[in-house]
Symmetry: C2
Subunit: 353 residues, 2 copies
DNA sequence: CTGAAAGCGCTTACAG
DNA sequence: CTGAAAGCGCTTACAG
């Protein structure tokens, strides 16, 4: 058979079919049954040391690798090292940080991660949930679309191992790992207040998301604490994306009485805000001070460098997958809530204290 | 049985085991054999219309979803809609763009994507390749670590469907989708030259990567074309990351004869460069002009907005997965090479023409 | 057009 | 401690 694909490599070579070393091959090599080989692979204790050695040797010699698909189909009880990850918006680098943390731990455990990005679209979310169920993942890490995301609730009720990230669920108990949004927003607002600002705008992001509400709460608490009146016109949120940041900043600048400081609710909003500010030649921090939620990798390359609330995205990811492993191990254990602490990184976009 | 997990929801509820509607359930409901149900699911033509309707109805009523694991184990010939994705560095947002393109098309096709981020680490790459093989993915999309990445070559030789992204393979024929790096670099350099610059530095990134070499080539071609002498001290590359960008910029600035313009080889290098520039209070573009390879989402939020070579990351991803589907369909078809065009986006970091 | 049966590569009681 | 056998949920020749 002639194979175009390998012309460059060797004109006579034939496409080898995918190599298939099975349990049977190893068993024959080692002179035992496939059951015994299976036991060695699964570290079953009741195998004689000599037998184990012989099998391990046969595995090495044959280059055997278990077929994970067959393993997954056969065994219902144990974890088969496939994790489903449901991300609301892969364009938001905050989630990429989380993915990195998850992937890091998954790699240590030999788990594979199947990713589904649903772009805040419920239909798409549902499709991915169904798909991941059909793939019989061990469990799900998911950022629910809302705090009463019915698909995620259903998943939990059906008995799947689920860990929520970034956002929790109100009606159903679930392990949750998120940032301490309220404190983070509080600190950022307080920082601005201490610098003498009173007209502080908050570009909040999508107000239907719990995270947004918590950040608004933090902002308000700080304002109240320092006895500053809260003007509703200064708290604005539509979506949590770049375009909204841009647009709302323009609205804010057009206000009869301009804010002297802006606090943006996430990294995309910050970038949108910056674009408008630069376009209108507003200088930071002399004309307007700026703090952003999310301390991204580019924050220090901005001019001026951005003062920002750092969320430990990678840490959130790591905690989430560790919790998921525990949940897989014991589906009925008490649920926990992790509030990963945030940190205000003071740089130059608010001026100097 | 008491279940802590559902306390909040309903103190009496019991964890339902995962719902299992199988072929058998549907078959009984429809009064046919499981073989017939299977045929309907797989859109086999030889099913009587009435039967098909009855089965489809039973599927709907029972809420049946095929077990993809069993499907994958059983059927060797057809695509089972699981794609393996091997990414060298998920921290580089360029790859995130690619992932988005891939995910977009995968979603349309009902494919799941298993992701492996190997952080430029060959051992990790190997582990993920083995893992994805064991999962019997339909095919791989991979950015090889180098142009003679032996693991990827092996994969192809073994008969797996593989599409390379961002970087090609020299010794083995493979479908490849990448940016037209040389032209992109050429245009950026030419832009600087036309603005009157002669001492143009190029912070190239990791010189062991093919992509880097192509960009260096583009830079050199432009310099020669316009009769400008190439000073080796102005072409520097270590790694393709933030730290290198920062470091090399500092070296460049310390040169007896400073460059008047810098061209950075990727988005991470650009950010590193910017940090050093801002720290040293070098003003852009009046002290130094800057062009970056990669036009990221933050480019327009910089001050000044960055002139950059846009790579169509999302487009690369889309083309790659489409090619992969074709390759899965026909493993022996002639390989193709796509050079996705780049575009110079002129903004303000080089001054005005 | 449809069904009975074999089998994908494993795991896991069960028996010895 | 080990093996023979059943079976996970499907697909696919084969026979009718």
């Amino acid at each position: 058979m002639f194979c175009k694909r390998f012309q460059k490599f060797n004109i006579l070579s034939v496409p080898s079919t995918k190599k298939i070393v099975k349990l049977r091959t190893v068993a024959e090599k080692a002179g035992v049954s496939i059951a015994t080989v299976s036991r060695v692979i699964n570290a079953h204790p009741d195998v004689k040391a000599n037998t184990r050695l012989a099998v391990q040797n046969a595995i090495r010699v044959t280059g055997y690798r278990p077929n994970r698909v067959a393993q997954r189909l056969r065994s219902t009880t144990k974890s088969r090292k496939l994790i489903g990850l449901l991300i609301p918006d892969i364009e938001n680098p905050f989630y990429v940080d989380i993915i990195r943390g998850i992937e890091d731990v998954a790699y240590q455990h030999g788990s594979a991660v199947v990713i589904g990005n649903f772009s805040q679209d419920q239909k798409r979310e549902k499709m991915y949930i169904d798909l991941l169920k059909s793939e019989f993942v061990d469990g799900f890490i998911v950022a629910p679309t809302s705090s009463n995301d019915k698909y995620v609730e259903e998943l939990i009720k059906e008995g799947w191992a689920v860990v929520c990230i970034d956002r929790g669920l109100t009606k159903t108990d679930a392990d949750t790992v998120k940032s301490d949004n309220e404190t983070g927003a509080y600190r950022a607002t307080e920082h601005l207040i201490k610098l003498g600002h009173k007209r502080i705008a908050f570009i909040s992001g999508d107000p239907s998301i719990q995270t947004t509400l918590e950040r608004i709460q933090g902002y308000k608490t700080a304002m109240k604490k320092y006895g500053i009146e809260i003007s509703p016109e200064l708290i604005k949120g539509i979506h949590s994306d770049f375009a909204s940041g841009k647009e709302i900043t323009a609205e804010l600048l057009a206000l009869p009485q301009r804010p002297t400081a802006i606090f943006t609710g996430n990294n995309l909003l910050t970038l949108g805000c910056l674009e408008t500010l630069h376009q209108q030649k507003i200088s930071i921090p002399s004309d307007i001070a700026l703090v952003g939620f999310d301390d991204m990798y580019w924050a220090n390359s901005l001019n001026p460098a951005l003062t920002a609330v750092r969320q430990q995205g990678k840490e959130i990811g790591k905690s989430a997958i560790k919790l998921l492993y525990e949940r897989i191990e014991d589906i009925d254990k008490v649920t926990v809530n992790y509030n990963i602490k945030t940190e205000l990184i003071v740089r130059k976009s608010c001026g100097f204290e």
